[in-house]
C-alpha cells in the first residue's frame, strides 16, 4: 500500500513538475510583484495548457500524499518521494532537452541510495 502510493505520487509529481517548468518557461520571467500584475500573470497562466496539466497532476499527487501521510512518518514520506528526482533527471534530458552530465546521473543514483536507506 505504502509503495503503491509512493509510485502514484512519484509519477504524478514528475509529470506535474516537468509541465510546470515548460509552462513557466513559456511565460517568461515574472518581474512585477504588484497585486494587479500578479493577478494578470495568474489569469494568463490559468490558460496555459502546460500549467493546467501541471495543476491536475499535482492534485493527483496531493491526494495520494494525504493517503501516505496517514500510514507513515513525515520523516519517511518526504524523503521517499525524492525518487521523483531520478525520473525528473531523465525527463529533463529527453523532454526539456537539458544537457544531463554524468554528474547529474551520479546524483540520481545517490538519491536512490538515500531513499533505500530511509526506507529500511
Amino acid at each position: 500500500m505504502k509503495w503503491l502510493l509512493i509510485g502514484i505520487i512519484v509519477a504524478a509529481t514528475t509529470v506535474g513538475e516537468v509541465a510546470q517548468a515548460l509552462g513557466m518557461r513559456q511565460h517568461g520571467e515574472i518581474r512585477d510583484f504588484r497585486p494587479g500584475a500578479i493577478g494578470r500573470a495568474i489569469t494568463l497562466l490559468a490558460r496555459n495548457r502546460f500549467v493546467i496539466a501541471s495543476v491536475a497532476a499535482m492534485a493527483v499527487s496531493f491526494f495520494a500524499y494525504l493517503g501516505l501521510l496517514t500510514v507513515s512518518d513525515l520523516s519517511f514520506a518526504v524523503p521517499a518521494t525524492a525518487i521523483t528526482y531520478v525520473l525528473e533527471t531523465a525527463l529533463a534530458r529527453y523532454v526539456l532537452r537539458e544537457r544531463v552530465t554524468w554528474l547529474r546521473w551520479a546524483g540520481a543514483v545517490l538519491v536512490i541510495c538515500g531513499v533505500a536507506l530511509v526506507s529500511l
Binding site: 515574472i30 494525504l66 520523516s75
Partner: protein, 146 residues
C-alpha cells in the same frame, strides 16, 4: 547591468527561502492534522476542513506559487538542489515537533538524498540546448550568483 545582477540575486534568495519554508511547514501541519486512517474516499475531502490540514494546504499552495515564480526566471536544475535543504528541515520538524524516531540510517539516507539532489544540478544551471538558451541569459546569472 550590475544592479540588474544584484536585483536578481536578492529576488532569487527571498523566493528560495519562501519555497523551502512554506514546504517544510506545509508538510508539518498536514501531517499534524492527519487522522490515523482515511477509510473512504469521502474522508479525503472532509479531512481538508480540519484547521491544521487547511493551514498545511494553504502553505503548500504558497509553496507552489513561489516555486512557479522562481521557475519563471531560474532553471529547474538550479531550483532543485537549492531547495533540497528542505529535506533536512522536514526531518528536523518530524523529530522535534512530532516526536518521530529518526535512526542514524535514516539521517544517512536524508543526507545522501540532499547530496544527490545537489549533484543532479551538475554544478551548472545550464539551460535547454535549443531555443531557450539564447533568450534566457538571466537564468545563468541567477545561478552564478548563488
Amino acid at each position: 547591468m550590475r544592479s540588474e545582477h544584484a536585483r536578481l540575486r536578492v529576488k532569487t534568495w527571498i523566493c528560495a527561502v519562501l519555497v523551502v519554508f512554506s514546504n517544510v511547514f506545509g508538510n508539518f501541519f498536514l501531517k499534524r492534522g492527519m487522522p490515523p486512517e482515511l477509510p473512504t474516499p469521502l474522508d479525503y475531502i472532509t479531512v481538508l476542513f480540519r484547521p491544521s490540514v487547511a493551514l498545511g494546504v494553504a502553505l503548500l499552495i504558497l509553496w507552489m506559487l513561489s516555486r512557479m515564480a522562481l521557475l519563471s526566471w531560474a532553471d529547474l536544475s538550479y531550483v532543485l538542489p537549492v531547495t533540497s535543504i528542505g529535506y533536512v528541515f522536514v526531518a528536523l520538524a518530524g523529530k522535534l515537533l512530532l516526536n518521530e524516531q529518526i535512526t542514524h540510517r535514516r539521517w544517512m539516507g536524508i543526507l545522501l538524498i540532499v547530496a544527490g539532489v545537489a549533484l543532479v544540478s551538475g554544478g551548472t544551471p545550464q539551460t535547454a540546448s535549443k531555443n531557450s538558451a539564447s533568450e534566457r541569459p538571466k537564468a545563468r546569472a541567477a545561478g552564478a550568483a548563488s
